[in-house]
Amino acid sequence: MKRICTAKEAVQDVRDGASIMVGGFMCCGGPSGLMDALLEKGVKDLTLICNDAGLPDKGIGKLVVAGRVKHLIASHIGLNPAAGQKMHSGEMKVELVPQGTLAERIRAAGAGLGGVLTPTGLGTEVEKGKRIVEVDGKQFLLETPLRADFAMLSANEADRYGNAYVAKSARNFNPIMAMASDRVIVEAARVVEPGQIDPDRVNIPCVFVTDVVRGGRHG
């Protein structure tokens, strides 16, 4: 059985400087309650790994606006002007990663791969500082695994074993981030007993999850 707790309890072990993967795509499928709990806790110098910088008044975006993020690894920051400002002022380091490469790097960490070879980014700024590996006469960038101390995810339903179901386009990065972090906290609108989620619909297998929090966008 996994720990069932409040958002405040779930984030209590997050220290200044921690790395956190945050599920969601433009805040759809993002753990808003956990983001608020982090904001309230006051931790800073965070490394956040997320598809995007969110919106200024929503989810992960609030942490960016509040200056809690030292390093942001994302594919897109255009919908949160504070992210661009802090990047230009040097207050926040931003590492822009192609979205598909971001997904593969996270999955690689979760799947125990030492890296993956991709043509995406060849001949662009993304190539800088990376090894190029040739296979069958074609060139690829060697992209390395991306792990974090925490994953903070959102789901529509989770059971006490940690199995979770994320509906529709809210699924996005949630399942792969669950694979690649030491502590995996799922904020679920409904917390149910084992067996209540159709086992063919589970898209975050229980094994990855350490904590379940009731709440979030549907809560």
Binding site: G123, V126, N156, A170
Partner: protein, 217 residues
């Protein structure tokens, strides 16, 4: 750009889409193509945040918080769509399973190089899924205004901004022209009905070859 010119671009691109194809439309002007899909073909739209079967905007009050497009805006799903996670979504894009991607551009050049994700020191929104889409899709169509805000050509001999990808663009559609990228360079294939070959050539910094027959659209 005036609405009728945006519609002209969208209609023209819609005619490029083959039957039984999967297409990804970028945020902004490319999205407009969805309104002009040919009714006699099965064309499914891919949304890189995680589904196939992107449908129109929902009626007001019927939005579903769990169903948005890649711009974060509420949308619907048509019958016969399916959801997946980001790894699968980009496996579809990067594995060569997407037939067409339609994207905007800041600059395109004679080699089919594309710059569309940043202006250093000024605008750095990030590439999102653009680098993956352009490298992975079977066909890359650029939907854009022919010139920038200052009236300068966006079709150049050589891109000056950081590239999104090298040599991946197949077709450029603007309010003035349809231009194909070939190994021999850019070929002007069609000119808008209210424009002329002369106007297109004068507003294009890159060298244009003429197609044997130049159509109208």
């Amino acid at each position: 750009m005036a609405e009728d010119k945006r519609v002209r671009i969208a209609r023209r691109i819609a005619r490029e889409l083959p039957d039984n194809s999967l297409v990804n439309l970028g945020i902004g002007m490319p999205t407009l193509v969805a309104d002009y899909l040919p009714k006699d073909k099965t064309i499914l739209l891919h949304s890189e945040n995680g589904f196939i079967g992107l449908g129109p905007q929902p009626e007001a009050g019927k939005e579903d918080l769990d169903l948005v497009n890649a711009g974060g805006k509420p949308v619907t799903m048509i019958p016969g769509g399916c959801y997946f996670d980001s790894a699968m979504s980009f496996a579809i894009i990067r594995g060569g399973h997407l037939d067409v991607t339609v994207l905007g551009a800041l600059e395109v050049d004679e080699e089919g190089n594309l710059a569309n994700y940043m202006i250093p020191g000024k605008m750095v929104p990030g590439m999102g899924g653009a680098m993956d889409l352009v490298v992975g899709a079977k066909k890359v169509i650029i939907s854009m205004e022919h010139v920038n805000k200052n009236g300068a050509s966006k079709i150049l001999p050589k891109c000056t901004l950081p590239l999104t990808a090298r040599k991946e663009v197949d077709l450029i559609v603007t309010e003035l022209a349809v231009i194909r990228v070939t190994p021999q360079g850019l070929v002007l294939e069609e000119v808008a009905e209210d424009s002329s070959v002369e106007e297109v050539v004068s507003k294009t910094a890159a060298k244009l070859k003429m197609a044997p027959q130049i159509g109208r659209f």
